[in-house]
Point group: D2
């Protein structure tokens, strides 16, 4: 299914080398002030070609909003605000045209299954596939997520909720795990989007070295949601962290998700992890990661997302064709040696949609 | 929301100390042979009091199926099969009465928020809560999952698909990560449900030591799905591993999920993780964990689930009451020092439901 | 699918002659005062055997609520209220045991398809069926709807919204179409539930005559929702009247639905049907039936539901068996000559659930 | 919610005078041959300006498919088929640009609520509205339905299922009710789309007379689905006719829905309506309208849809503004005096989507 969310819902479409990527945001509350420049700014954070670290595929990725908005009135000082719109509560359709097709790069791949890609599985499921650039399985589909996430972020801002993500690890190079000791204002100060600039430099060097080898490398994106009130998330199957986990695991190349102390708490004792209450119901520690029993407790929500090294290499690779015959993939096309820097805005987008949706769901917990 | 799944759906209800736990399995295919004894056997694997390691709460946990089934015909040899039913395609309602209430144990907790429990968050969300034994937030709700999972397992068996889970780590004591080197027939041979019996003994000792201290300890459950055909799972938001991850993260005390090489692949190179195809489209390695682009590739699906040490301690703990006044929780009631052994059938149940649902969804990928 | 609703959701289960009918009400707001006696009273309105007009199947239909509620505090005057509960926001599971089985009545029908029943269609869909009393296709499943509707009604009452339905026509005997000229307090004063007691008497006579012939007769149930605020309902596919129509059409034996002026407006001119606004945005007429563009406008919501004469006759009927061989159905078992009187509380239940669900959905139309 | 369907799903967006109308078709089976010319032909049947009877708003309504398709191979004779595509199983995004804006026509309506329109209800629900041409409440949104329906029709054609609708009544002028006595090949032979050409001429005269008066008139569209196998539709809440009814009631201006004998069976006896089985499980009559217990029985599915006269008049009308002040609406803009002819392809589209969705759902009724 190509729909995400329960009330605030994104339905997306589009292939890597089709006419356009796009989507429909349904359930966006009305009367929200939407700054189109902020949406475009998020797309710019995701777009390829923004630094030496990323793929040279160069797409301007201009989004066009087709519905669901009307012009906002002038500011209080009477200044026109052409980039500001008001949501009307009706669905926001949008498209981003695919500009930079090199489809012929992929002709050699028409009848070949690339290792550790989704070529074979799409063929198995559907009986055919769009082989150009991975088709629907390409990470290019995430542009639609970034648009919807940028809308969700503006709604969350009005609620005092903020979502931040950053590159916490690339290969074996990791920054401090406790986000309160990091300067999150520095995330955008390095091309790898790691707020510890010393670590960022090491990460950058590693990525360039791996890129030079035609290889790829994975890493971890960490995230925090601050300002989230207590009471978001549904018991049992709709636990807030289960929805957040599903959101993250739906991003290409993600192999794992943890929240709060995550996998590390496996070797701790219960007595070490108890988050003691203060008189105002905040807790003195936050091992729980802001969620208890699937419902937010008002503390910051913390989580981490593991990305594998992407499978597209600039190296010759043995594989098979659709008849099972051995063949070889020649290095061609463009790729990211490390997707982490560009994954940061995608992680933020998915977290923003998840939290906004949980907020809207929580409104029906009581009658009035 | 208390419903799990798209086509094969479990809707569950019930609190720890209410009249009953129960649920409705909707979308179960018709004409399935359902052995009620196998359902009960799965409940017995989950039930408390089954070994010295688990809580002494002693519930027989007898399930009663109320609808959706009719008597099966005799076996080919003419033997009556009273425990075998046929599903009719209509919803299967079921209940498990709560027999062993010690609700008065919880009177002292009526106005107290236990640290790292869901007491405060339920109160924040709903304005009130059932304080007895954690109410709906108690892991007792998982009995409904085990019933539904036992039904799903029997459907999967007819498709040649099998789900196995085991305790892979408790505290710092871990068994071999590669499941192909383990004897999975030995899972039930130890009370901790670790197939490496040497490691199992060490785990058992650790749990008993922690229990003696009134403390708790976490761990990792690993799982594998074998016999799964290629083509299950939906692209983009409904990726098979995203659904599997959401399923696992919805289990009480789960803090993390990974599949295939998971978090470990962060520090690997893409060239190290490429799963090369064989001529029959199997792969020579399985770093991917049986899923590519969110769709199964026919290889075994492997995953791991991190459980925190549960928050209920047999130790005095400082906390606050619902007015924010400092107070102390006295050790009372019963608890599991380590939930891992009893979590194994729950993990299997959630995996079975997820895979069966994906299978049923996959039937509409083609028209005929 | 056996689930109704988006936020306030009923998932039901149970066959006519199985162990029990039941369901789960999910998404019921917390802190609602629920009077169990009012739920039982609605079941009593639906139950068979309440008058000479209805089937003699005599079921006490006692509902047992299994979860999602806690005891309500005493009334302000200190009086205990044992039948009053508070909802906790968690799912309300319930069952009604099937007491009065005459399953052997149906042995002759095991291999026979009754005309205009669902025997053949269930067999075609599922490959087998529970032949006893129609199994899941029996109108007995509507007891679960009445329970959930009785809960919804109590929530609506707190919002000042009331749902009323009545028998408006049986055969060719019809009462006044404009509900404002009827005394709706008299609905329960006649066994046919028609508020015009003169017409009611004629209806009663007709039903008894038809019953004496072993035949059956249809009719129309009319309904009105008063006190509904403007703004409920979703544009486009989730129009309030589309949801209401689907709710009504899901009731056994319903063949048609109309709202406002319905089919009658076909032969009117647009200029005749314009509902002119008053200064307070009420309208001077209500041809629209309280809904414009799928969204409630604050005027009473009016609708009508057509029921066919049920297919179970006390007459010999020719038909075929499952091999297509001609056979005859002998009159036996019990039946309603006219379902209208007992359909009234079912129509009310479905309308109450639909409106409450729309109310809860409408809370997310704006951010705060 | 702006999504229709369970597996075959349309999510639509767009306002009357925004940039575009569009949608996403998700869940369309893969490997379907899709003729784009047939999609355009359906749009041409719906488009304004096609005859003297319809609004003079003149939109070419060219649809652009943006994803989910790849080029089809040449025909067996080697001929290229540029208008034929293959579906890939991934979502089909599409847009239709709004070409013929006369938004300034609507400036006078910015602060006015038109009687019997959705102006007031949108304002009540969302706190603001797009006043130009009715915004999202305009019937212009139905272009998205026609596109999705045209895709569904091509899938149904491959299954041998056909959907036909026609104008059965305008004002008091009605054609024969029994479709088997009509020549459905003549539907497109008259501008009103009534297959009885004598009746069609009378309808046409009536519409022109009403149009001359600046007034509007309603009517009934009848439909039939042939070739539908037994077994489609879900029991209880997802009955096939409940889904079909919801689909029809979601179309602008629809006030009622009936299937089979519908409201007319109210005054019949059960013995008159019994559809007797033939040896091949067809029935000798079809009072049931092809559905028993919510599940198709293999006979033609028949239904009727009541449309009110639309509320836009070319007459001066008294109303109120958004402050409740009395004002007058001057006749301007363009409108249809009778929407029936253009509603026919919309009814067909909704029926086609409903039946295809039910077909895809039915695949999971059995395991293999």
């Amino acid at each position: 299914m190509n729909t995400f969310g329960n009330i605030f819902r994104l339905t997306s479409f589009g292939e890597s080398h089709g006419a356009a990527i796009g989507g429909v945001v349904d359930g966006c509350p009305a009367e929200l002030e939407l700054d189109l420049d902020l949406i475009q700014a998020e797309l710019d954070r995701r777009r390829p070609g923004q630094s030496a670290l990323t793929t040279s595929r160069n797409e301007a990725d201009r989004v066009e909003l087709l519905s669901g908005i009307i012009d906002a009135p002038p500011s209080e000082s009477g200044k026109a605000r052409p980039s500001v719109k008001l949501t009307t509560g009706t669905p926001i359709g949008f498209i981003i045209r695919n500009a930079d097709h090199h489809s012929s790069d992929y002709d050699a791949l028409r009848d070949v299954f690339r290792p550790s890609h989704a070529d074979y599985t799409y063929q198995a499921k559907y009986g055919l596939r769009d082989h150009r650039g991975g088709g629907r399985s390409s990470a290019r589909e995430t542009v639609a997520r970034v648009v919807a996430g940028a809308i969700a972020k503006q709604a969350l801002r009005d609620l005092g909720i903020e979502v931040k993500a950053w590159t916490a690890q690339i290969g074996s190079i990791a920054c401090e795990r406790d986000w309160t000791r990091l300067n999150l204002n520095q995330i955008e100060s390095s091309p790898v989007r790691c707020p510890d600039l010393n670590v960022a430099r090491q990460m950058e060097e590693l990525v360039l070295r791996v890129k030079g080898e035609g290889d790829t490398i994975g890493g971890i994106v960490a995230g925090v949601v601050t300002g989230c009130p207590a009471g978001l998330g549904e018991p049992v199957f709709g636990k807030l962290h289960a929805q957040l986990g599903a959101a993250m695991l739906s991003i290409n190349a993600v192999k794992g998700f943890e929240y709060g102390d995550g996998f590390a708490c496996v070797s701790q004792r219960g007595s070490q992890l108890a988050d003691r209450f203060n008189a105002d119901f905040t807790t003195s520690t936050n091992h729980s990661g802001g969620i208890q029993g699937g419902i937010s407790n008002g503390m910051p929500i913390t989580f981490r997302v593991a990305f594998k090294p992407v499978a597209t290499l600039l190296q010759e690779q043995p594989t098979v064709d659709i008849h099972g015959q051995a063949t070889t993939i020649k290095p061609r096309g463009r790729h990211d040696a490390c997707v982490l820097p560009r994954a940061v805005p995608i992680v933020e987008a998915m977290a923003a949609m998840t939290v906004l949706d949980a907020y809207l769901m929580s409104k029906s917990a009581k009658l009035s």
